[in-house]
Amino acid sequence: MKRIRFWGTRGSLPVALTASAVRGKIVAALRGASGRTFSTDAEAERYVDGLAFAEAGTYGGHTSCVEIETGGSEYVLCDLGSGLRPFGNAAIARHGAQSPQTYHMFVSHVHWDHIMGLPFFAPAYIPGNRIFIYGSHSWLESALRRQQDAPSFPVDFSFLHADIEFVYLMPDQPHTAAGLTVTTMLQRHAGDSYGYRFESRGRSLVYTTDSEHKLDDPMETESYAAFFRGADVVIFDAMYSLADAVSIRADWGHSSNVVGVELCQLAGARHLVLFHHEPAYSDQAIDAVLADTRRLEEITRTGQPLRISAAYDGMEIEL
């Protein structure tokens, strides 16, 4: 594995930056630039580089879709959220529509926000492309077919003319796909979800989203820590605050930044990536969660430092 690229990082449903939010960013940037002059674009860009992420950028609004660059010619993806659409367009732009490609897609579960991108994934309509869709739910194929049934969608699944194959992954058993060793783990979520651990050439990545941690069973905590053990990167569902996750949003199937830090510390993981952002959160709110999470890691650190990032659409992480 060489690189991770995030195409969709938002939880539950896609969101878009509003006009008032853009205006707020511009006002903040202009106020920060008061008295400065920029004679070149490079000077202006240096100024922008110094702004907080929430002022100069945005975390984005596509739902879950993460690309793993393996170094090989085949594509590997986690989840088929709305971020799959720009990924597919980028793949076609890169190779052209007539150059057959192979895509390996690992699905955590079939809630809408994790599958809604497939009907808009242009390579799926092109004969010659090969698509392997992996998961541990017995109903994976029927759920993907059903979302394109009339009257919910105008184009039936049968119009996807790529060679599509569904592959069932037995949980807790290592499988080989696209040159990666892949293991899934059952997670607590309505209808079940599965976390993925990918390993290759001494590198490991855990993708664990839509996973609630009840925190009342030390053995369960240990089992997650074992799944995360020594991971280079853990992409973690940090949708809610801990207080919300154990109170008003208990049994909603999601986790928190606090639990993410604790599990990664227990596991000796190296890099925690906050993921599946609450759609109601502004860029500033996610910035604040990131700062809080880094502070929590700092004051509770007992071993090696844990790097912490908040995923955004377009973010890349070198492995």
């Binding site: 605050s241 207080a243 154990v246 606090v258 004051i299």
Partner: protein
Amino acid sequence: METSSRQFADVIVAVPVGRVDHHSAAALEAALAPLIKTACAGKGVLALDFAGIDYISSAGLRILMVAAKELRGAGAKIAVANLRPVVAEIFAISRFDRVLGVFPTVRAAIEQFSPSALAAFDAAQPTATR
């Protein structure tokens, strides 16, 4: 970890000491269970003196949330006081400071809820500290 307790009128002050992580959280839960039962029966207050807690994990915080639900459901109350700086930050980052009553001192917590307990608490303090 160990937990001691004292009662002042309708307020029980529990004093856990140690580190509350995902292993030791069960000990805190067991220690609080009878105190919660007593507080619920009397519709009183359970005040947790956290001066001796140097760390609390999500598992420990969950126990406080479960306790709060049980107490509030029975018409009783919960308060947390004397947080060490690190624990206070954990409360803030987890947003538990927004859902539990957090007080700078045990006395401030008791003062909030019960005049009779405050009088008993003050009477029990050494003269020099009154």
